[in-house]
Symmetry: C2
Subunit: 310 residues, 2 copies
């Protein structure tokens, strides 16, 4: 799960950098904050970052798959997402009415009236965390040595903002490790080092940090404190908007047996499996590169270009 929070506070006005990215023809304003289009030149950097991550992960021999941007609503109900982040959810609603109700809906829309109450909930929600759709597919007993899976999924968070790294909709290159506790924690630590190395090799000033999720409400503050005390979440931070307030571009979460218990994912010894995941926010890494090396990728240092386009 990639944490959308920016560590720290202060620094330059973040909307400035959004304006720069638009002026350079990298982002395309699309009427809503955090849901802009990406140009060809932006996508070619994002694709190169994704490929560089694939090369760095070759030892994992991870199974690759893709899930669509919408997932089974029961997943977010069962993993308690709505208890912790109700304000970030994106539930998909549609129209289930008849001809006359459709005509009434049309009149309301053309009169500029709200129309949410004419809709009903569907079975799907927008996927809020790249790894979520995977767990229910793993119910059963893992092989010895566990499994490693990688995905490239679109993720949604309802937090519209002009700040360019705080998107409503973005892509996460995700890895999930399932197994016994020692395997899972060793794998996470390997990746924490590997992620730092990869980002630094691209000329980014990457630093690790113990982190927490943006849990909702007053009760959420205590959950965040517990999460930090148990060191369940790490992030890699890189300057994007400013050096003073770097942005999380990579996030590492150890879930203990939470998903193993919820979805009956068992180790060969019959115990619920441990899981950990890590996600690279691909748009954020691309933006960090544009910030560090300039908006014209053709003029980036040869060493960086060779690492991205070998």
């Amino acid at each position: 799960m990639l944490d959308p929070e920016i560590a720290g506070a202060g620094g330059a006005e973040p909307a400035d950098f959004y304006g720069e990215l638009v002026a350079a023809g990298l982002l395309i304003p699309a009427g809503v904050d955090g849901a802009f289009g990406r140009s060809h030149r932006f996508e070619s950097v994002l694709d190169a970052v994704n490929s560089a991550i694939s090369r760095a992960s070759i030892d994992d021999q991870a199974e690759y798959c893709v899930f669509p941007p919408v997932i089974d609503r029961r997943i977010i109900e069962r993993v308690h997402y709505m208890d912790s982040f109700p304000n970030l959810c994106g539930a998909v609603c549609s129209f289930f009415g008849n001809d006359a109700e459709a005509r009434a809906l049309s009149r309301r829309i053309h009169a500029g009236e709200p129309w949410a109450d004419a809709l009903g909930m569907t079975q799907v929600v927008l996927n809020p965390a790249a790894c979520y759709p995977l767990y229910p597919t793993l119910t059963g007993t893992m092989p010895w040595g566990g499994r490693t899976v990688t995905m490239l999924n679109w993720v949604f968070r309802h937090e519209p903002s002009r700040e360019p790294t705080r998107m409503q909709s973005f892509r996460v290159r995700e890895f999930v490790r399932i197994g016994v506790q020692d395997e899972v924690l060793a794998w996470r630590d390997t990746w924490l080092a590997r992620g730092l190395e990869l980002l630094r090799s691209l000329g980014l000033e990457a630093v690790p940090d113990v982190a927490s999720d943006p849990f909702f409400g007053r009760g959420g503050k205590m959950m965040a404190v517990n999460q930090k005390e148990q060191k369940l979440k790490y992030e890699v931070l890189v300057p994007v908007n400013s050096a003073a307030a770097p942005t999380a571009v990579c996030s590492f979460n150890y879930h203990q047996q939470h998903f193993g218990e919820t979805f009956a994912i068992l180790n060969p010894d019959g115990e619920p499996a441990h899981t950990a995941c890590l996600g690279f926010g691909l748009e954020r890494v691309a933006m960090a590169l544009f910030k560090a090396h300039g908006c014209d990728a053709d003029r980036w240092p040869g060493e960086i270009r060779r690492r991205l386009w070998p």
Copy 2:
């Protein structure tokens, strides 16, 4: 805009083919009809199809961009999508309440009660047609010769089904031509021939057809008749579930001046621009290939493999 309708009726039980694709490890059931995961072997075929389309489109010199799966709600309000296809929409709703309301929401969810009425509408909806987010970005005057844009976007239609080609969430490789009427219609006709040639070169029995959209309700039937009479929509059909009821894998729409007028997209002479679009349903083309050549792409005829992986 890609029409999700299957032409004709009858033939083999379509859910059979879904079961085959799952058994072959190509699709991954994910709890909801039409929102399954795609395996590595499925994705490698889908990527190859997308690249083959890029090669076929080289003369277009189209500008490439990507829009996220969610778009500005005002777009579907302004283009009258909700008048024609309200039942297919996916409006994104979220939680805007306080601490106490969040606790009440949590209790309802854990009690298994419905919770749609605890949500409010956001500014975004799922994108129902790959080309929609482009038009508002084109407001202004086109250059002489117009423009051609291509995109790879996730599209949503609320029509859950076990039939594998009728997905809720899928990818469309889209092309849009903006210009004067003659340019736009000539471009569409070129692509109709080019699309047929491309699909036939991959060993698919592709046939063109005049088509209509699945307009909602009684009034919708008349709109569909008009659309067919004016030949505004063509499709290319290919056997997927059965030869008797082939599936639309490519759709060509001429919009006349509809988007030009709605979004003030003008030709150099000051008149609203004409637009046309075409979209390849990438999952559908991949499924058609698995149907025609078998579920193991390593064993496909050498000629087909060389065209997909040159």
